[in-house]
Amino acid sequence: MRLPLTRTSLPLAATVLVCGLLYAAACIRHADEGFCTWRVLVNLLHDNAFLGLAAVGMTFVILAGGIDLSVGAVIGCTSIAVATLVEQAAWPPAVVIPLVILGGTMFGGGMGAVVHIFKLPPFLVTLAGMFLARGLGLVICLDTVTVRHPLYARVADLSLDVFPVPALVFLLVLAGGMYVAHLTRFGRAVYAVGGSEASALLMGLPVGRTKVGVYSLSGGCAAAAGVLYTFYTSSGNANAGTMLELDAIAAVVIGGTLLSGGVGHLFGTLIGVLIYGIIQTAIAFEGTLSSWWTKIVVGLLLLAFILMQKLVQSGAQRHA
C-alpha cells in the first residue's frame, strides 16, 4: 500500500514545494514592486484561467491514458463562434454559451467515440480534430470580432471590482473536476482505464463509455475555456489558443500526472498552471528578461520534473 502512495504523492509534493519556492523567490526579489500582493495572485489566476480550464479537461484525458491535441483549436473555434453569434447574429449570450459548450462536448465525445470504436491512436484522431476545429473557426471568420454586449461589460466590471469571473469559473470547474475524479464511479473508471485498459475491461468497467466521457469532458472544458477567452479579451479570434494544447499538457505533466495514464491528481494540475503563471509574471516583473525565457524555463522545469518522476519510479521498483 505504501508503494502507490509514494509514487503518486511524492511528485505532487515536489510540485507544491517548487511552486512555493518559486513564489517565495519572486516575492523576495520583487518585494518593492509589490509582487506579494493579493492583486498579483488574483491576476495570476485571471490570466491563466482559460489555460487552466483546458488543463482540467486534459488531465482527465491523460489520466485515462489518452491525449487531446484539439483543445487549443476548440478554444479558437468557440471564441469566434461566440463572438459572431453574439455580435453579428445578435443572439443572447445566455443561449450561445450553453450551446457552444454543448457543441464542444459533442465534438470531444465524437473524437472519443472514433478513438474507441476504430481503435485509432488518440494522437491522430485529436490531431484531425485540431485541424477540423481550427478550420471551422477560420471558416466562421478570419478576423478578430470584438464583443460589445452589455453582459461582457458587466462581467468586466465585476472582475475588476470584486473577483475575476474567469478565475472563479476555473476554480469552480477545478473543484467539480476533483469531486468527479476522486469521489465518483466515473472517476474510478478513468484511473482504472488509464492504469490498464485490459484489466479495466476484465473488471467489467465501461471502458468505451469512460473514454468517450473523458474526451467529452475535455471538449466541454475547452469550449468553456473559449468562452472565458471571449470574456478575458472581450473578443473572439479563430487563431486564439494556438499551441495552447502544448502549454496545457506541460502544466498537467508539471503537476505530477504521468503521460502514460492512471497516475496523477487534478490538484497537481492547479499547481502546474500556477507555476506557469508565476514564471510568466515573474519574468514580466523582471522587465529586462524577454518573454521567450518563459518557454526555456518551463522546458527546464519539465525536464527536472520528468527526471524526478523517473527517479521516484525506479526507486519504487527497487523497493518492490
Binding site: 491525449i67 470504436i117 481503435k119 491512436p121 491522430l124 485541424f131 477540423l132 521567450w292 518563459t294 519539465l302
Partner: protein
C-alpha cells in the same frame, strides 16, 4: 527475422496501394472543375513548361513545397518505427534556421557552408539530446521530445533576440531558390536525403534493428540488438534532417522566423508517416510510403489553392482527408470490411 520472400515483398507493396491510390485520385481530381455549375475537363494542373531552362508547373510545385515535410518525415519514420515519436522537429527547424541566419548576418559573418554545417549540426545535437533522454534515461518519447518542443522555440527566439532576421546573401537564398537538373534545388536535396536513408535502411542492419526495437524492445535486447544505440541513431537522424529542413524554410522566405518557422511541421510529418502505412505503435516502416504521404499532404494543399477554394477551407478538407485515410487503415474498419466481403 524477416526473410525477403516474395509474399513479404508483396505485403510491403500492398501497404503502398492505399496512399498511392489516394494521391492519384487527388491529383486526378484536378482534371475536373465546376465552373458555372457544369463540369469541365482541363489539364492545366498537369502542364509543365520550360521557362529560362527550368521546369515549371503545379506538379513541380508540389514536389518543391513538400520538401520540408518530406525531410522531417523521413527521420520521423525511423523514430516512429522504434516505437517513439519526435514532437520537437518544428522547434528544431526554428533553431537551425535562426542559427544559420545569425551566423551569416552576425558581426563576424561565417561562410555559407560553415553556417549551414553548424545549423545542421545543431539539429543533430538536438536530436541526440532527445535520443539520450529516451534511450539512456528511459523517458517516454512523447514527454522527452515535448521538452524541446516547448523550450526549443524559446532557444530560437533567444538566438534571434525575438527579431525576424532577414538574409539577403545570394548563396543562402539559392538553397531553396536555386535549380539543379532543371528542377528546384530542394527536390534534389530531398532525393539525396531519401537515397541516403534508404541505403542506410537496406544496405545495413539498421532496418532490422529499428523494426526489432519497435516490435518488442525487450525481445530485441535479449536478441542482442543495441537498443539504446538504435534509438540514438533514429532521433539523431530526425534532428539532423529537421536541421536541413530548417535551412530550406529559412532560405525559402529569405529570413529566419523563430516564432513561425516549422510551426506544426511535426504534426504534418507524423501524419505523412502514418498515411504512408507505418503504425504509430512502431515496428515495420515504409520509407516510400512516407514519401507518398508527404506528397499527398502537399498535393492536397496545392489542389485546394489552385482550385481557388478559400484558404480557410484548407484545414477542414485536410481534417476530413486525414480522418478518411486513418479510418481506412484502422484494423477495426478493415476487419469489418472483410467480414462483409466474406459474408457476401
Amino acid at each position: 527475422m524477416r526473410s525477403a520472400g516474395p509474399s513479404i515483398c508483396g505485403a510491403r507493396a500492398a501497404r503502398l496501394v492505399w496512399p498511392g491510390l489516394a494521391l492519384l485520385l487527388l491529383l486526378a481530381s484536378n482534371l475536373v472543375s465546376f465552373d458555372d455549375g457544369h463540369a469541365t475537363l482541363h489539364t492545366d494542373f498537369f502542364r509543365i513548361e520550360i521557362k529560362q531552362g527550368h521546369l515549371y508547373g503545379s506538379l513541380v510545385d508540389v514536389l518543391n513545397r513538400a520538401a520540408p515535410v518530406l525531410l522531417t518525415a523521413l527521420g520521423m519514420t525511423l523514430v516512429i518505427a522504434t516505437g517513439g515519436i519526435d514532437l520537437s522537429v518544428g522547434a528544431v527547424v526554428a533553431i537551425a534556421g535562426t542559427l544559420a541566419a545569425v551566423l551569416i548576418t552576425g558581426a563576424a559573418p561565417l561562410s555559407l557552408p560553415a553556417a549551414a554545417a553548424l545549423a545542421i549540426g545543431a539539429g543533430a545535437l538536438a536530436g541526440l539530446w532527445n535520443g539520450t533522454l529516451v534511450a539512456v534515461l528511459g523517458v517516454q518519447p512523447i514527454v522527452a521530445t515535448l521538452i524541446l518542443m516547448v523550450a526549443g522555440r524559446g532557444v530560437a527566439q533567444l538566438l534571434s533576440a525575438g527579431q525576424i532576421i532577414t538574409v539577403e546573401q545570394a548563396g543562402f537564398t539559392a538553397i531553396a531558390g536555386g535549380h539543379f537538373l532543371m528542377l528546384p534545388l530542394p527536390i534534389s536535396i530531398v532525393t539525396a536525403a531519401y537515397v541516403v536513408v534508404a541505403i542506410l535502411a537496406r544496405g545495413t542492419s539498421l532496418r532490422l534493428f529499428v523494426e526489432a526495437t519497435g516490435d518488442g524492445e525487450t525481445a530485441a535486447r535479449y536478441a542482442g540488438v543495441p537498443v539504446p544505440a538504435v534509438k540514438l541513431v533514429a532521433y539523431g537522424l530526425s534532428g539532423l534532417l529537421a536541421g536541413v529542413a530548417g535551412l530550406l524554410i529559412a532560405s525559402n522566405i529569405k529570413a529566419a522566423d523563430a516564432n513561425n518557422a516549422g510551426l506544426y511541421l511535426e504534426l504534418d510529418a507524423i501524419l505523412a508517416v502514418v498515411i504512408g502505412g507505418t503504425a504509430l505503435s512502431g515496428g515495420r516502416f515504409f520509407l516510400s510510403g512516407t514519401v507518398l504521404g508527404a506528397l499527398l499532404i502537399q498535393a492536397l494543399t496545392t489542389s485546394i489553392l489552385t482550385r481557388g477554394v478559400a484558404v480557410e477551407w484548407t484545414l477542414v478538407v485536410k481534417a476530413l482527408v486525414v480522418v478518411g485515410i486513418c479510418l481506412l487503415q484502422s484494423p477495426a474498419v478493415r476487419a469489418r470490411l472483410w467480414e462483409r466481403r466474406s459474408a457476401a
